[in-house]
Subunit: 419 residues, 4 copies
């Protein structure tokens, strides 16, 4: 009877899985595109594979289709290795070697910044190779060890290398070797060209699944903590910087249009994978081997566009203005109508720098009436530090009333307001 | 006595004003930079003027310094006229004339997209002139009328033109005339070159204040509704598209670094103004005439950097993970311990596509136990439509229990969940 | 009978005309190419017109086909107006406004030299417009007067303007107006943009024939003197500088290949004309309206290639080494065998810096034997000034012999050796 | 006494040597410039070395200063290895791999032609490396053997390699290795990148003297035959193609200005050498190690400019129009005044396609008078094949007169008119 019941009833959490299923099936008939041909080993992929996964910053993972099929990560590795380099050396050190600007150029562009010799950003091959060279390690093997450990931490499982693809990359990598030599000549490569390309080819040959990419992207969305393993992989700053570069440069010379139309910072690879994220909310991984002329997975793009357009997941989507952060206001104290009556204002939802001022401005008349004001944060789900600072400043600045009690008190049972 | 009291007590809402004051005073000693010299009329500005204003999406405006000093809007007009063109003709029509890609080039770059002849984006001069040409109107005067009305609606007051600066612009505008002729020759200008540049020079000569720029930017942050006048100026889609283009292209060839370091979509003008915003939260306007080599206000940049860095206002700032959206869970009904007991889950805060799944997944066991589940949205401040859709789907999909009552009910006193 | 005789006998000088006829008929079936469409007025030309003319530096003109059909000169005017500007202001003044470098770019390229704002060379439109602006005259009419008089002097007849084409140019000239404004903004245009383009459009609309172009080019080949009218139009320096720029830049981004394969400095126009020359020998004009993708006359190119390849007219063609410049050597004097016998060496042909040394070196033993040496220049057709200087130096340096007579005398009945 | 005499008398052929001495001493005080620093081994050169040599196409060599000091040939090798590749494979085959266009770019430019992947020309490093890869040989050693033998043939003596410089080049050659990998990736390199750069570095490290460079350049000027050894090194076509490319591309992004101002096709190297030539006349080699910002020898440039400007050696220098090619005309036969009298016209000097027509046109009336005409070529020093063809055609076309004798005869004792 219970079995019968559950058979009849879809699991409640399956709303999101149903969305993914629907998006995937809608993309399935999309034809066009070709499996990457330039690396012979990639040309053997089954072109019809199709998978998607979504990982929330709270650790739930939803999947549809071939979300567990393995493929090589290729350029999707770039933002994550950039993040590892940032974590290791900091923004100032890394940006001495690679810029942060969208280039208006394709992935294999050879131009370096005129004055500095830096590749324009870490998402183009030249910049990615420089990032690989910056990873700690005296030789390619040492660097590769650090990179593979880092990518595994992002994914939450031990990733390994597809040796056949690696051999194929190394045999056909003249352009990437050229980029390495150019960067070396310009003084921005941190190793010999050979060490950098060996590490880079190996990083591109790491096997992942769409699920892995979802978790990796969700780690950036969650501010650097893998939401499944709870391991901190990189700092919040690093996650933000990396997300920012994905936002402006992740889709090469189509990054601007992608931000307008889709609004999910993303990075694609010629292995057929794409990693995308909505900051603070979720990561998405997609897999489908057929590529468009720019080297992006045709059906991966289609699924992400559909998610954004139909489901409103654009990072700049304007959500209806929230209700006021001020809920119920109750007048308490001993019930007498004296000027000294206590007033309690129940705050709610998400308090930001942008609405903290509303709370204080609107409650100003109450305080000027001479009453004691208590701000109750128990229904507040989050207070950004900038807003918290304003509340703490106000409580202190108001000082004590004539009766010696503070004019403004903060009631914060969950500790959201900080110290 | 009351006077004495209020003299002693800072206004509660002044937390934010104190922040602005502090940021402004910190920037005041910053020297370097020159008042724009290329338009003679601009060279007469008092170089020491300094102002800032912040307008929240709920309509509060905070100001410091010379926030009411007038200056010409110059290139800060670009995103707003782009928005007006989008509002009038839609994204598809406009992008036949101008691209959306960061160019890696300075503001006065002359390159057009090879295949299409489009300027690379609407933030460089060529693209802005094309946008001006796209505004409705048979001649420059008609177009200028539409543009000035539109900018005034963004600012919430009637703006007028500085005729002396206009004459100066027109007399020295050879490069801009060149850009117009180039776009005309490429087939992407929607008027003659003369009409387009006349309208463009006039739009650049509109007088604004830092406060105006704050309100204009806040209108984009609020999804197209002027938060002070409550007038809808452009649609949510237009506000989002415009913000996206400011994000990737607003700071010309430093846009990528700006997004990494500051993270407030912004647009500067050689008149000394900058408009910036944090989507869904606030707009900021700054004014200080001395410019760096790239034509950005030196102290305007300094104030925005300070706000972002010290006060954590980066649009990709990771705020501490919020408390769970599920607050108190109460078991009700008649108090009997029967399997059919009603359970009420109090949801709270901001419900998104990203955490809707958490609510449903975590409550699944309750429902499988056979109980009636009510989700109480009364402490929820906002539900994004994608999340709302998932809740509505779930309520319908669960169907009725054996007793004929729905297995899942949504209690929504404020109507946040929609229909 | 005399008539019969002459009918049977081809005119002797017709060898060259027969070459032109043959080259023209060989090119006639060449199809491909389109009449210029971008100026409506040009599109009406009869596409099958075909003419060629060759003018020698000694003033003979040979023609074949439609060598007297008129068409507008268009870009073929560029080297001649550049020459007029050079003649007027000198190389140093002109090169402050326009460079001398091949650009590797097409005719309508918009790039200006980074540091100086100069168009890269006077053969691309931007550089040509700058040259027009440099021509003396307060307004466009004055400049046009100077230009038309100058072009007429090059052609040896009064040329006039095709007003219909001029109107058409002016109506569709957005790109050229853009180039003028860009140069103006960069500070390299010597008039307003409107004055420069008015003069430029008018110069492009001057009517010429293939015969005119041949004479114009021959004027450059002859060192600046029109070989038909004997009028000096520009100085030798100007003719050389202009020929040099035609050599490196005349065929836009195919100039290098043209120099390798054809080796006749040339300039083409979208009116269907081409002017070419072999320095010191002749000028050629061709006319055929159908153009290739680069805007060059398809059959004009074919005729010039044929002339160069089959008839060895490449300017760098290696001609068989000439006979020695030293002809007969006679021992004279009174016939006695004394050491003081006079020796007369008959020099012949063209004496250059490169073979003057041979003369002196080979005759050194004669002089060392103590004889008087006389160099007889009567069979010499030309002595370059550098060579003449060497001979004059030698005569002076040798001084007198013991008998008081000069050791070395120069006999120069035609005055080829100069003073 | 004889000694005294000769001490007093400068050798006659020393006119040219005196010119070289004077030019060299004038350049000696020129300071500025630095010895090439990018290859450590080059930095040790004595910066004050200064030499020049001139070799005529008839084999005389004149020298001044340190004309026998050895230095590495570096980029001066480029035109000669290009010539060797052309000689081996022909123009069509070579231009599938490398273009012929001036690039407007510096020597180490990395741009390849968009459609074809070809380096723009063989004078920039990328194109030179491609040329090295095209030289016959299965490995770098084999290619180097061919290259060194070829360079030695151009110089007329066995050249060897400076192994210390070679090691230095190889250790610092990242940019060149990058260019090789880029060309390999583009499909235009004919070997692996490593083979091409090994051969290229070795070719750059060949030791030469200024005298060697003069002879090498003179070999091109003489149409491919070494004027000292009389060995044909490359064909006339190859010599012409190579000279043409030196003319348009030899001085990198200053080639156009060089052609205008100096007019001696040239190629410089960072070893301090320059090879230049005047086609059909002479080659020049200079040596001075200090380089300007573009990598050209400062004093080498100064000497070539002086030679061209003061001594009129510009290849486009207009020499005064020669005397008419028709010398004395004598009426012979039996002295009777009958119409059948023989006329003999003595032709003289250098007969070209451009003046052959003059001869025939001017003599036409004589022939029409019914007389027999004999053209006497005994005072002619050279007849270009195009002109010879015209004379032969005329003789045949005129046919026989009534008396059965040819109307036009050619008297050609030295055989200059060919068959």
């Amino acid at each position: 009877m219970a079995d019968e019941e559950s058979a009849r009833t879809p699991p409640l959490g399956s709303g999101l899985s149903a969305v993914l299923d629907s998006v995937l099936e809608q993309a399935r008939p999309t034809d066009g595109g070709e499996v990457a041909g330039y690396i012979p080993e990639l040309a053997d992929e089954d072109p019809e594979q199709l998978g998607i996964a979504l990982a929330s910053v709270r650790g739930a993972v939803h999947e549809a289709g071939d979300s567990d099929a393995e493929f090589t990560i290729q350029s999707v590795s770039k933002p994550f290795v950039f993040a590892l380099a940032l974590e290791q050396s900091g923004l100032a050190a890394i940006t001495r070697h690679v810029g942060l600007e969208p280039s208006g150029e394709p992935f294999n562009a050879i131009s370096l910044e005129e004055r500095t010799g830096r590749p324009l950003n870490p998402m183009i091959n030249a910049g990615a190779i420089v990032c690989s060279s910056l990873i700690r390690g005296d030789d390619a093997a040492a660097k590769s060890g650090v990179i593979e450990a880092g990518l595994s931490a992002f994914a939450g499982r031990t990733l390994d290398v597809d040796e056949a693809v690696l051999a194929s990359e190394a045999a056909t990598g003249d352009r990437n070797r050229a980029l390495a030599h150019l960067a070396r000549a310009a003084g921005t490569l941190a190793s010999t060209a050979a060490v950098a390309t060996d590490a880079y080819f190996r990083q591109c040959s790491v096997n992942v699944t769409a699920r892995d990419l979802a978790v990796m992207a969700a780690t950036l969305a969650a501010g650097g903590v893998n939401p499944v393993t709870r391991e901190r992989v990189v700092s919040e700053d690093v996650a933000r910087w990396t997300t920012a570069v994905m936002t402006s440069c992740g889709m090469y010379d189509a990054s601007g249009e992608w931000l307008v139309r889709v609004g999910l910072p993303a990075k694609s690879g010629v292995g057929g994978g794409i990693a995308a994220l909505q900051p603070e909310q979720f990561g998405i991984g997609t897999f489908s081997p057929r590529l468009d002329a720019r080297g992006n997975s045709v059906r991966g793009i289609a699924m992400l566009e559909e998610l954004s357009e139909r489901h409103g997941l654009h990072m700049l989507e304007h959500r209806a203005a929230p209700l006021s952060p001020i809920g119920e206001i109750s007048v308490g104290g001993d019930g007498s109508a004296s000027a000294g009556d206590d007033v309690v204002a129940l705050l709610r939802g998400d308090l930001t720098f942008g609405n903290a001022e509303e709370v204080l401005t609107r409650l100003q008349p109450l305080l000027e009436s001479g009453r004691h004001l208590t701000l109750d944060f128990s229904a507040v789900t989050r207070v950004g530090e900038p807003a918290a600072r304003i509340f703490r400043w106000a409580a202190q600045a108001m000082g004590d009333a004539a009766d010696g009690r503070p004019r403004l008190e903060l009631r914060d049972p969950d500790g959201v307001i900080g110290a």
